[in-house]
Amino acid sequence: MAAAPKRPFRWHIGVFLAPALLVYTAIMILPLAGTLQLSLFRNIDQSQVFVGLENFRTLFGDPNWSVNFWNALRNNVWFFIIHMLVQNPIGVLLAALLSSPKLRFAAFYRTAIFVPTILSFVIVGFAWKLILSPLWGVAPNLLDLIGLKSLFTPWLGKEEYALTTLSLISVWQFVGIPMMLIYAALLSIPEEVIEAAECDGITGMSQFWKIKLPLILPSIGIISILTFVGNFNAFDLIYTAQGALAGPNYSTDILGTFLYRAFFGFQLQVGDPNMGAAIATMMFLIILGGVCVYLFLVQTRLRRYQF
């Protein structure tokens, strides 16, 4: 915050910056650094002792922790894959349809499809829990309408389906975000480009694949990284629908719920802030890794397509 040379010190710059910097540093950056630091310590005889990477060795090696950790990580990767494979293609499809010229009711569709995104996880988790519940019978009734009643099982209660079901619920909630961002990107394609394509006889589907899709790739990149960060930081939906134990039998456990249990303890296990910090550090490294891949590999390559 130093002033340029040969000029009086510009106090106002400091005044403008200070509140934001202060709050941001004190509540966000320092605790983040503190958490990373805490992961290197362990509470022995009521005092914090520096143990180096010992907590991480426990996390990866001690079966009490490592089984849960790898399970949570695997589940989290699957959670992310479902989002990438289902949420983003649906978002692109809806945006492409919405942006077609002279489409009637576009504003209505846009508003309606975005509704789930504004609802809280608590509402979404519980509403779907009720709908999929075999007690109530909304889902079996609906399947019956299209003659597929035999397919119904209590999806959230079965180990093999629960995680996929929850991922799809999360996709249902957040599909509005890729839709809106892609929609914005499609609208910002200059008319000349489209007209030139039409002069060359490229219309309809091939116009989308050959002209528009390459131009919206940067937006798809942003959506992918947003999805990545959001997924590896997720907690609320699983906690609401399945509880902190992420049942059945930990099959829906992801890093967020694992962190919560490690930090606060559950049932017989006592909470351990240091192990919690170690898990948070792993999440930090994973997210940082993803962001770096995006910034240095994906974005620099996508730049070329920008206007």
Binding site: Y24, K102, A112, I118, V122, V138
Partner: protein
């Protein structure tokens, strides 16, 4: 836009897909709200039909209003959201102004430092945040939540607002300087009113995650006094697992304020997203 020749079948196809998805998006919400107005027999007998005079019943709502302290939770949520929003907008705009208006050593570094928080979620610092709040005696106060949400909202606010502030004409600000206005007056009187539309966009983006957050209320302020409506709903729903009327009514009560606000502000929100605020 271009005037592509669109055949009728294609347009019907587009509407069919969009309409199908609209139904998928809205149907859980509609089912929940519809059934919240029914008696228990109605809920289980015919879950897919709207309430008829025979099945209409407000028992769920009377249970919820009688049992839960929802009005109080609602107030807490309102206080936390409005206060955080105020600080995010004020501090964010001030920092954005400093970064976009003045050239000083470390400007770019400062921008990058603040942008860090857009990608790294504040949740990862929870362990140390809780320790900090315990040490400063702020656990189970709304202040703790307001501080956390202010820090959480600032990075994106600074980023978006400085983009917009770069567009405010220099001539206008320099004219103000020649007239002898202080830098503070220029900011509050000239620049802030001009970026008001983008402030609204930032407000909407900041508000939704704060209102809906479950993690920090659960960890920093779970006491009865400081529960937010999201946490309150979560606990309430957990308690009444078998009382379907009450659950459906509680869900509907939680959905409706957000839904009404959304319908009122949806134009603003969608314009904000599509104006390229998030590049």
């Amino acid at each position: 836009m271009s005037t592509a020749t669109r055949s009728l079948p294609r347009s019907i196809g587009a509407h069919a897909i969009l309409l199908t998805y609209t139904v998928i998006a809205l149907f859980p919400v509609i089912i929940v709200i519809m059934n919240s107005f029914k008696s228990r027999a109605g809920i289980f007998g015919a879950p897919l039909t709207p309430p008829t005079p025979k099945t209409f019943d407000l028992i769920g709502y009377t249970t919820v209003i009688g049992q839960g302290d929802f009005i109080h939770y609602f107030q807490n949520s309102l206080v936390v959201t409005v206060a955080s929003l105020f600080f995010v907008l004020l501090f964010g705009a001030m920092a954005a102004f400093a970064l976009s208006e003045y050239r000083f050593r470390g400007n770019t570094m400062m921008g990058l430092y603040l942008a860090l928080g857009i990608m790294i979620p504040i949740r990862l610092g929870t362990v140390a945040i809780l320790q900090l709040m315990v040490a400063s005696g702020l656990v189970n106060t709304l202040t703790a939540l307001i501080l956390v949400y202010t820090a959480q909202g600032l990075p994106l606010a600074v980023f978006i607002l400085s983009e917009f502030m770069k567009q405010v004409s220099d001539d206008l600000k320099n004219a103000g300087r020649i007239d002898g206005l202080s830098e503070y007056t220029i900011f509050f009187r000239l620049v802030l009113p001009l970026v008001r539309p983008s402030m609204a966009t930032v407000a909407v983006f900041t508000m939704i995650p704060i209102w809906n957050d479950l993690w920090f209320p659960l960890i920093l302020a779970p006491s009865e006094e400081t529960k937010t409506v999201t946490l309150g709903a979560q606990l309430f729903l957990g308690q009444f697992v078998t009382n379907w009327n009450a659950i459906l009514a509680a869900l509907s009560l939680a959905i409706m304020p957000v839904l009404i606000l959304y319908v009122i502000f949806s134009r603003q929100l969608i314009r904000g997203i599509t104006s390229g605020a998030v590049k």
